[in-house]
């Protein structure tokens, strides 16, 4: 079976935080201890919704050393493919679910002299765990957190109460903006910047840091891409000798799994590279959406990341 090792858990608490975000707490079904993790790690939550199984990654936001429970925060996306709606509407306290072992694609670089965190909206969640991790070692950090409105500012009160000197909040509707050039200018040598938020914010931070002479290795970002719906298409899996149909609202990876073919994955969000699949033959156009393959690879039609990318055309044959 692909993906990280699985853990059977029970939902022990559900707390609605605001109009859009709800927090879920999981403990092991067998009462045992969960693995520790490192700040920035995510878990892949399995959602069994009738015939459909959705596997969505969520950042762990609890204390990485707390082995009694994991917590995640899920932002409701009414336009998405239904994973967040399932969590909000269908999951109840006491439900048993399956989650994966923690996987970290957004870890702290502990060589840094200072950690500068930039969060947008629900992008706050990995930083909550990283802050708890750094506090244990008296780490040097600073958070700049942009939210749409005060009422949608998840965890703002907790952060400003516990860390008044490190936390800086910006409300979009009050025209507060992170003064990024000034913020980056004058940071001590050895500072690393981390950004988690919408695509535009990540590009803004990466572009500005590069222009200000920050090394690429000192700029960290995490953006989970939800697979986007698209036109249905047909795929031939050469190794398994199967022809499968990819539906409008499912990803290519989900369709492969539905056909009973074991395909590797970890993040399911176009970032980690695990699901990279060789293309044997195609007539048509790829709709690449991942961050893993480079521009040349996106252009040459030799590989596809089935977790987020799609295809439009006549034939697609994969080495799977």
């Amino acid at each position: 079976m692909s993906g990280a090792e699985k853990i059977a858990v029970k939902v022990t608490d559900i707390v609605p935080l605001n109009e859009l975000v709800t927090r879920f707490k999981f403990a092991r079904v067998d009462g045992g201890r969960l693995p520790t993790f490192s700040g920035g790690a995510h878990t892949v939550v399995e959602m069994r919704d009738g015939d459909i199984t959705r596997l969505n990654p969520y950042s762990l936001m609890s204390d990485p050393m707390d082995q009694s429970a994991y917590t995640i925060s899920v932002r409701r996306d009414d336009e998405g493919r239904g994973g967040s709606l399932f969590m909000h509407q269908r999951v109840k306290v006491g439900d048993e679910m399956t989650i994966s072992y923690p996987v970290n694609l957004f870890s702290l670089d502990l060589r840094a002299k200072k950690h500068l965190f930039l969060a947008g909206g629900i992008g706050i969640t990995p930083f909550l765990a990283q802050i708890k991790q750094l506090e244990r070692f008296n780490g040097n950090w600073e958070l700049h957190y942009a939210c749409r409105t005060e009422s949608l500012g998840s965890y703002v009160d907790e952060l400003t109460n516990h860390h008044p000197n490190e936390t800086h909040i910006y409300y979009d509707d009050q025209n507060d903006k992170i003064d990024l050039v000034n913020l980056l200018d004058g940071q001590p040598l050895g500072t690393h910047v981390y950004v988690c938020g919408p695509k535009g914010m990540i590009e803004w931070v990466r572009g500005t840091a590069t222009a200000e002479g920050w090394p690429r290795e000192a700029v960290h970002y995490e953006e989970f891409l939800a697979p986007q719906p698209g036109k249905p298409f047909e795929v031939k899996l050469a190794v398994s000798n199967k022809v499968i149909q990819v539906g409008e609202t499912e990803s290519l990876l989900e369709a492969i799994e539905r056909a009973g073919v074991d395909a590797p994955y970890l993040c399911r969000g176009g970032a980690c590279g695990q699901c990279e699949t060789r293309v044997i033959d195609y007539t048509g156009n790829f709709i690449h959406r991942d961050h893993w393959l480079d521009d040349d690879e996106h252009a040459n039609g030799e590989k596809i990341m089935p977790c987020v990318s799609r295809f439009e055309g006549k034939t697609l044959v994969l080495d799977r």
Partner: protein, 198 residues
Amino acid sequence: MSKFTFPQSIRSRPVYGTLEQRDGAAHLLIADAEGAEAILDVATPAMMAKAHIVYIPKGAAFEDKLRGLNAASFYAGPSYGAAEQRIHKALADAKMGLQVYLAGTEGLMGQAQNAAMQAGIPHTAIQTEHRGSTARRIQCVHCKGITEDVETDPFVCAHCGLNLFVRDHYSRRLAAYQGVCIDAEDPGNVPEPKGIYE
């Protein structure tokens, strides 16, 4: 001829590039001997207005030319050891956006890279260009003493006197290659020393 093409080797062996100007809040350029030529190649007036040059001539005649670049700060000193305090101070005062350029011998670049890494710059973000002598800085794996400017293989450890074979295994932490006793099993059976790249 200050450029040398190093033969292919193991992954541990450092690979040097060609300095190129990068955008940044400030520029720290550290060079020895013929490394000055690499600085002269990359320097522009705009870069020099925000530049600090640290130069160890080692008998080479480039000091006046480098001084003529009119860097915001220029220092020439007799050895890396003499310049070390200044380099550490420059790094301690620096902010993100500093660009580091190293040029010259492997010993100079390795030690300056180590100082910059400890100050928090990822080693991959530090530019290097080899010029001049191909002599190596080598740590004896037996006594741990470091011998500077080793040109032959094997050579005699300046600290413990063992006959050492020059390896391509390199440590960024020590800024040194590894030297291993060549006649441990048959004392006195030492091949004739020759140039490291002969």
